[in-house]
Subunit: 453 residues, 2 copies
């Protein structure tokens, strides 16, 4: 593999670097000027991938932290922090947008960049932590002190590979590897290829990486455990799902066996509705989708709720005797979402066998007999059994009733929308959905397609 | 309940008793005469329900045992025993038929009765047992010594009730209660009603009845344990299945709640092919039958083999993803048999999800990937998964192939016949089967129908 070629494409050029550095300096100077003028005891600090020099060309998210003394009351921190952000954005002619993480913060859209202004506490070590964002200062410092120039290139390769195979990002939607986790993996294994080799050969569920030898790994029950060098009580990989860990390992093995530049870029898919219809027909399975309008929500709110709803419906379907082969969810992140289910069993008899108690649990036995009538009860080994009419023996009508039943666990922000869903089979559904979801559907039908090139 | 009324119908009248007693005396005298003449050291003994006075009117099976001294070699016992039987049958103008249990024996069809002549060893107690038949002498003696006239009536009621609800008989086809077991239950509980009450209220799997307090119950792992008063190492109820034990208890509870004379007689069913077709259609399930010719076999050979074949096919069906709701088997006990399956799931997609190894079991992982190709493999949590074409996605074609595959466990005497079966759906099947199987089919569709009136 000629990694040089890839680095040429993903490593920020001198001009990009200078432009960003200049912008950052201007913003920080501005903040500090305002702070001084208003007598706010803050010195703005650049953090994140820009500060660490590990951002992918064209993808610089500028994070400017506003560390307040530990003695500042939370109200004051929030108020003055947001004020500083807004003032700075105003001064450089950007557009402000308030957001919420552990604290509220301001994002400025400035000269084509997204710049986050985040109030935080000025902590020296993890013992002084007030909230998760405070840790970022320590992370930035740790990487700046430990990651040399050569390894920064390796970080870029790892991040870009992760992007290509869809395992990059610790947000809920992905459940993959964060940027900081990529940096630590390079610190620990020295190079991109070494990370892939170690993952391929050594990783298994519960694998531990403890760079500073804190010995605190037994606290964690996660697929991968990477003890934070700046906080022995935190697993940097806590957001990584078993699914994404395995996907990374499988893609790594595929890559090592036959390295190709294509792995560093998203898999190319051409999809049309006609082609998807043909593909589904050939499988001889049944696909049913639950489609609904929903309000605009932050991605980290929206996706967990979609997932929760999907899982709850799936659980009910399987319990009823319909068998779900695979399921998934999608949203345009604006106003339209759907859940999708592929079935191994989508039609059932008009009655179901209902198992009652063991014959010797007399109270339940007699209650069962009274409820169903002795003429509808029989015996299988030591249990009584009865026949029960099944109201919905086709999966679509079952789902329709389920959605109205109040039995499923639905995320609270989408609850009232999901109950008004349309339930469609594969043909109706493919005619209905927007084109932007076709790539998702192709991947839903071919769930390993992004793991090889 | 007026049990008197029932007893009037089921208790042998004086004339029936005298006729049987006279016949038995004639047969025994004949045997003893021949034995004396031929110098065979045997004194014929009447055993079984006739000897114990517990036979149901019109159902006297006469059992005449021929006890040889313990020193007799087995060959000689067999040869001389059969000889005595044949000679006796010849003398009274009956028709002989040789049969096999633990030893060979002769059945004579004499004056409308079936009379078994069974050679055995003359044992004094269970320690001297050579084979299971020898025990019968001890059973007969024990019941004769312990069961008084009043209790004989109770035995008749219990046997007749068991017949009515289809739990009477310890042969494999039934798996129910033997006559001797009924007698012991009456000895233990005193009356028919007490047996029903005890079963209803106290019995549960592993319930122990140990009349002679031998304390040997822990040897047994059966649904019901009744230690044989004449042999502490035997469970008289060992042939009783959990199924029949529970059926008896359920029917007993139904009877006690609303006693009716009808419980003592088989449930009356009117069945027609048209009615069965309608009933099946209403269920919305699918029924498939495997029909085959088979040779005439003893019932205790035939039924276990049918059952074994049924269970093996069912296991494969469920493993493949077809879901069997209920299954059964039937034979005319001459030359035609069938296995029958009702399905909750009878159709599957054209592909199946095939779970491979966990990702860290590397040898299996790479074998799996080579076998299916990385383009057909994906990841679910920590496992690799692939898609596999399903050759038979309809249940009939799956069964047809399964029957030819050699994968199912089939009873050896019916193996070559089962492999040439016809596989039919409910409509074809109902047009094809003989009328005598319709009652079985009605019960197959309504498996509790014999447990209440």
């Amino acid at each position: 593999m000629k990694y040089r070629e890839i680095l040429d494409e993903i490593k920020p050029k001198k001009s990009e670097k200078e432009k960003i550095e200049t912008l950052c300096k201007t913003l920080i100077d501005n903040i500090n000027d305002i702070a001084k003028k208003e007598n706010i005891p803050v010195e703005a600090t650049l953090v994140g991938s820009v500060a660490k020099g590990t951002w992918l060309s064209g993808k610089a998210d500028i994070d400017i932290f506003l560390p307040f003394p530990l003695t500042t009351p939370e109200d004051e921190l929030r108020e003055k922090g947001l004020y500083l952000g807004h003032e700075c954005i105003k001064k450089v002619g950007g557009k402000a947008e308030e957001k919420y993480a552990a604290h509220p913060y301001v994002t400025g859209h400035i000269q084509g960049y997204e710049v986050d202004f985040v109030p935080c506490y000025k902590i020296k070590d993890a013992n002084q932590l007030r909230s998760a964002v405070d840790r970022t200062l320590l992370h930035t410092k740790y990487i700046q002190e430990n990651l040399d120039e050569e390894k920064k290139d390796e970080v870029l390769l790892l991040k870009k590979f992760m992007e290509g195979i869809e395992t990059y990002g610790s947000e809920f939607k992905v459940g993959g590897f964060s940027g900081y986790l990529c940096e630590l993996l390079i610190l620990y294994y020295d190079s991109f290829e070494n990370v892939l080799k170690a993952a391929s050969n050594e990783w298994r569920p519960g694998y531990v990486i403890d760079i500073e030898n804190y010995g605190t790994s037994r606290k964690f029950r996660d697929p991968l455990i990477v003890i934070d060098p700046v906080d022995k009580n935190r697993n940097v990989a806590s957001a990584l799902t078993m699914q994404k860990m395995t996907e990374f390992i499988v893609a790594a093995r595929n890559f090592l066996e036959n390295p190709k530049k294509d792995y560093f870029y998203p898999v190319k898919l051409k999809v049309s509705k006609e082609e998807l219809k043909k593909e589904i027909k050939k499988r001889g399975s049944r696909i049913v989708a639950v489609i609904f309008k929903h309000p605009k929500l932050p991605a980290d709110t929206l996706y967990p709720q979609l997932k929760k709803t999907e899982m709850s419906i799936k659980k009910h379907l399987n319990k009823e005797g319909f068998k779900v082969l695979r399921s998934g969810h999608w949203s345009n992140e604006e106003d339209l979402g759907f859940l999708i289910f592929e079935f191994e069993v989508w039609r059932l008899p008009k009655y179901k066998k209902h198992f009652g108690p063991k014959f010797w649990i007399k109270k339940h036995y007699y209650r069962f007999l009274r409820k169903y009538g002795k003429e509808n009860v029989w015996v299988e080994k030591d249990r009584v059994v009865s026949r029960r009419e099944r109201k919905n023996y086709k999966v679509e009508s079952y789902i329709k009733e389920l959605l109205k039943s109040g039995k499923i666990r639905v995320g609270k922000d989408i609850k009232n929308y999901v109950s008004k869903s349309k339930v469609m089979n594969e043909t109706e559904f493919l005619d209905y959905v927007p084109k932007q979801s076709l790539e998702f559907l192709k991947k839903f039908l071919n769930p390993g397609i992004h793991l090889w090139r």
